[in-house]
């Protein structure tokens, strides 16, 4: 039987969503055209060629290196694209994803990406076309609610503020707004107006956001109620604290000893 990684413990729907984000098995909810995405990212004009920092690898003549022969370059690296970034912000009010799981999603499911995880934002740096592929997959999937998450290259502090009356996450630069029930993006990541209105679709209802969220909250699934997750976190903490870089030497948690139960204080 083929091995299926579990990725994350827990039985609640929050844990299930976390597993989905990590495994990349996420539902596609909307379609954003390539040109719209390029305009929203703001790194180049829609339809323009990818600027490059070096000639395509095929033309450069690479040195005789076994690692280079083993690892196939990503499309962006093969073409010599610039390194560019996309950055997402997710509201603490039951947004579908959170920075850690966006990073897991990018690092596990995409090659040649460099995810950066911060408390309120998550950035992915990669060769331009690789970054666009990853960003497009994330923005079109259930990981992103257009009202509770957004592409924000700067001024991300709305993630920790209360929502507006219409359910939109606060944005000092108002990159997105609600228009006829749909979320429209008319500025790029850094707040510069673009010459088009990118339709990101309808925001999730409160119930749907709570169903798709990966956030444990006291008004939703409580972290303390997730026994398997707590047990696993305690196990990792114990091994890391007591055995440092040799967790496999932990006698009381070695294979065959039996289950070790940790109790929340």
């Amino acid at each position: 039987m083929a091995y299926t990684p579990q990725y994350y413990p827990g039985a609640s729907h929050v844990a299930v969503n976390r597993r989905k984000h990590m495994s990349g098995d996420v539902e596609k909810l909307r379609t954003v055209s390539d040109d719209d995405l390029v305009a929203a990212l703001g790194h180049r004009a829609p339809g323009a060629d990818y600027p490059s920092t070096h000639p395509p690898l095929a033309e450069m003549g690479e040195p005789d290196c076994p690692v280079r022969q083993m690892v196939e370059p990503t499309p962006g690296a093969a073409a010599g694209d610039r390194v560019r970034y996309s950055q997402f912000t997710d509201s603490m009010y039951s947004a579908p994803s959170i920075p850690y799981f966006r990073s897991y999603y990018a690092a596990i499911n995409f090659r040649g990406v460099d995810p950066g995880t911060l408390s309120g934002r998550q950035i992915v740096e990669a060769r331009e076309r690789d970054m666009e592929a990853q960003c497009k997959a994330a923005i079109e999937s259930e990981m992103t609610c257009p009202a509770l998450a957004g592409l924000r290259g700067c001024t991300v502090h709305g993630h920790s503020l209360r929502l507006a009356e219409d359910g939109m996450m606060f944005d000092m630069l108002e990159r997105t707004h609600l228009e006829g029930g749909n979320v429209i993006e008319d500025k790029d990541q850094v707040g510069v107006p673009i010459d088009r209105k990118v339709n990101l679709g309808k925001p999730m209802s409160d119930a749907e956001a709570k169903k798709r969220t990966t956030i444990y909250r006291t008004d939703g699934v409580k972290y303390r109620s997730e026994e398997e997750v707590l047990d696993h976190v305690h196990l990792v903490h114990h091994r890391r604290t007591m055995y440092g870089y040799r967790p496999e030497t932990a006698a009381e948690t070695a294979p065959g000893v039996g289950p070790v139960t940790y109790h929340t204080v």
Binding site: G153, C154, T155, H157, G158, L161, R162, L163, A164, E165, D166, F170, M172, L173, E174, H177, D188, V190, G191, V192, P193
Partner: protein
């Protein structure tokens, strides 16, 4: 240390679960103004800048929809913040009137607290902005301005002289 006495005015803070749109804020402020005894009202929330303050887009106009001109009583003002909390001071206990008003206007939960939210004594910052306490005619101004306001916006003459 600030101590309160029975003769001091009472202060309240309204903390709605959602941040208010300009029209809702205008309605609330106008209704608060009509409650007898309310002397001061302050709105607080995240700033709405005119231009992008930092990053690659620095200086580009923001044109935020929430930065609207509102009319409260006979005064017209431009909202510079997204209204997140409202602090008010009244000469007598108006807790129940304010609670009834919020229940009528807000379709979402809110918190209403009584406490000390607007300071009564001048701070060093107030001294720099308005001058010595005995020179300030309207002491209600204390606690009503943005503490991060630029010193050049308004500063007492003696401080300007000192700097020169």
């Amino acid at each position: 240390m600030v101590t309160t006495t029975d003769s001091d005015p009472v202060q309240y803070e309204i903390f709605p679960q959602r941040m208010l749109d300009p029209s809702s804020a205008q309605e609330l402020l106008n209704r608060l103004e009509q409650i007898e005894g309310v002397t001061r009202v302050l709105v607080q929330g995240p700033r709405l800048p005119l231009t992008v303050p930092s990053g690659p887009g620095k200086g580009v106009p923001v044109d935020h929809q929430a930065r609207e001109v509102i009319r409260v009583g006979d005064q017209v003002m431009e909202l510079q913040v997204k209204v997140g909390r409202i602090r008010l001071e009244a000469e007598n206990d108006v807790m129940e009137e304010v609670r009834a008003l919020c229940e009528e206007l807000f379709p979402f939960p809110f918190e209403l607290k009584e406490g000390l939210f607007l300071r009564r004594k001048a701070t060093v910052t107030d001294y720099a902005k308005y001058g010595p306490d005995e020179m300030v005619e309207d002491k209600d101004i204390y606690g009503m301005t943005d503490p991060n306001m630029s010193p050049t916006a308004k500063i007492c003459e003696s401080c300007v002289d000192t700097r020169e």
